[in-house]
Amino acid sequence: MLPAKHLLTEVIDSLRNVIGPAVKDPYSKSQAYMAAVILEFVSRQIEDRSDLESIEQLALTELFDDLSRFPDLAEIVERDGPDLRSRLCHTIEALHRARGQISPQSFDRANLRVRLALRQLLDGELKVANGRRG
């Protein structure tokens, strides 16, 4: 079996240099080239998948560990949930809703910590979306 990355590279090359040029209909031709573009993204996604998953897992686990140590966030941080991303979304919503009830300093500290984790998630996804190598 060929490695997935190699196989995708060959399919992309075929779409760009063989299939795309041979297609007459303008819509279908543009779809062939678009397929090549998407497969390039998929190729990067496959290559970076395990890396991205572990970055995300680590970033969110550390985030929830840190938030659990914030004294006045006990009622705000979601302790359980179907997955870490959902837990984070619910925690962000709860944090903003509690803004008038907790001190501004507590909100700012927690929000800053959340945003730090969000930046880590984004940087991981941008490696695929922008084609940047770590």
């Binding site: 678009m34 962000i92 959340v114 979306a129």
Partner: protein, 344 residues
């Protein structure tokens, strides 16, 4: 892709019913326009004899494909009603002829309108950017761009009977309604949780600005959605996202870097200082750059919602256009822009 010939025959049958006095009705140069994401667009000329005289009229047909973008936010009937209401105003818009809700005729609701003669250079292409830059140097188009936007915002929308679009309450109700609208699109997409988007939405809700005065807002006023003839705006088109709301919402769209991709000119056509001064003079409004910055961030959320909705349509097998699949990789890019705007 639909069979263009079959579509042509179906449109011809429809027009024969709508124009019973027309004799020897023919459709000439019937083509599907490329580029539309939310609707299918067909352009053609109709030619017929009536009372012994030959008449030829350029027409444009806009059709709901059933699984296009923004289905939940923009109905063809509403677009038709808006264009109909604007016919009596000074705003340059195409005249509408017929709206048809019966999906059995062409496979979806549609309306037929006047095809305005003119050019719509693609502002995302190098050739388009050059065409706008050349027009900007000649001077007339930038003025027309601002004057048309001012005419839109000075329009008496109550007199034009546009209340059916929904009228926001006082204070920051407009922004909150707009956020809710796009949030509902995100929810309908059944996308995986996006914590960055959640943070963005919560920030937007907590910082919604009050409105100076309500106006008819286009929602996507930029080159590419304007037909140009003789270096002037011949028509404002793509009425899909219009609302009664804050005119700064349109101003922010003009000011946004999202709509000029490297061009030093706003919307590739107008200098920033000239735009701000001329617009404020024509409308009597004060451009609050902080408010515009807020709406620019709202537009980033809107783009993320748009891309999430688009990629979900593809992922759910409702639309096979590969351009929609590609948009999933645009989500982190636009969320990154928003995050940077918020300082992280």
């Amino acid at each position: 892709m639909e069979d263009t010939q079959a579509m042509k025959e179906a449109v011809l049958d429809y027009l024969r019913v709508k124009m019973p006095a027309a004799r020897d009705l023919k459709l000439i140069d019937f083509n599907q326009a490329t580029g539309g994401w939310s609707h299918q667009i067909y352009v053609f000329s109709a030619s017929w004899y009536e009372n012994g005289r030959q008449t030829t009229r350029a027409m444009c047909l806009r059709k709901d494909p059933g699984a296009g973008l923004l289905r939940e936010l923009s109905s063809l009937e509403q677009q038709y009603r808006v264009l109909q209401a604007l016919e009596a105003t000074i705003l340059p818009t195409p005249r509408v002829y017929w709206y048809e809700e019966n999906s059995t005729l062409l496979g979806g609701p549609f309306f037929v309108m006047e095809k305005i003669e003119g050019e719509v250079p693609n502002p995302w292409s190098e050739a388009g950017k050059k065409a706008y830059a050349n027009a900007a140097a000649r001077g007339r188009l930038p003025r027309s761009f601002v004057e048309t936007l001012a005419a839109l915002h000075n329009l008496d929308w109550r007199a034009a009977k546009l209340e059916f679009l929904g009228v926001p309450g006082q204070g920051n109700d407009f922004a909150l309604r707009e956020i809710a609208k796009w949030e509902s699109l995100i929810e309908q997409a059944h996308h995986r949780p996006e914590p960055v988007l959640t943070e963005l939405l919560m920030w937007l809700k907590g910082n919604a600005p009050p409105v100076q005065r309500l106006a008819l807002v286009h929602g996507a006023y930029r080159t590419g959605n304007l037909i140009i003839r003789d270096d002037a705006i011949a028509a404002v088109v793509d009425w899909e996202l219009q609302v009664i709301g804050d005119p700064m919402y349109d101003v922010a769209y003009v000011l946004s870097d999202l709509n000029r991709e490297g061009s030093p000119l706003l919307s590739c056509v107008v200098e920033r200082d000239f735009f701000l001064e001329y617009y404020q003079g024509l409308t009597g409004l004060t451009v609050d750059l902080e408010v515009c910055r807020y709406y620019e961030i709202l537009y980033m959320m809107r783009s993320a919602a748009f891309w999430i909705s688009a990629s979900s349509l593809f992922a759910e097998g409702k639309n096979k256009d590969l351009r929609l699949a590609r948009t999933t990789y645009s989500v982190p890019v636009v969320l990154d822009m928003a995050a940077r705007a918020l300082g992280f």
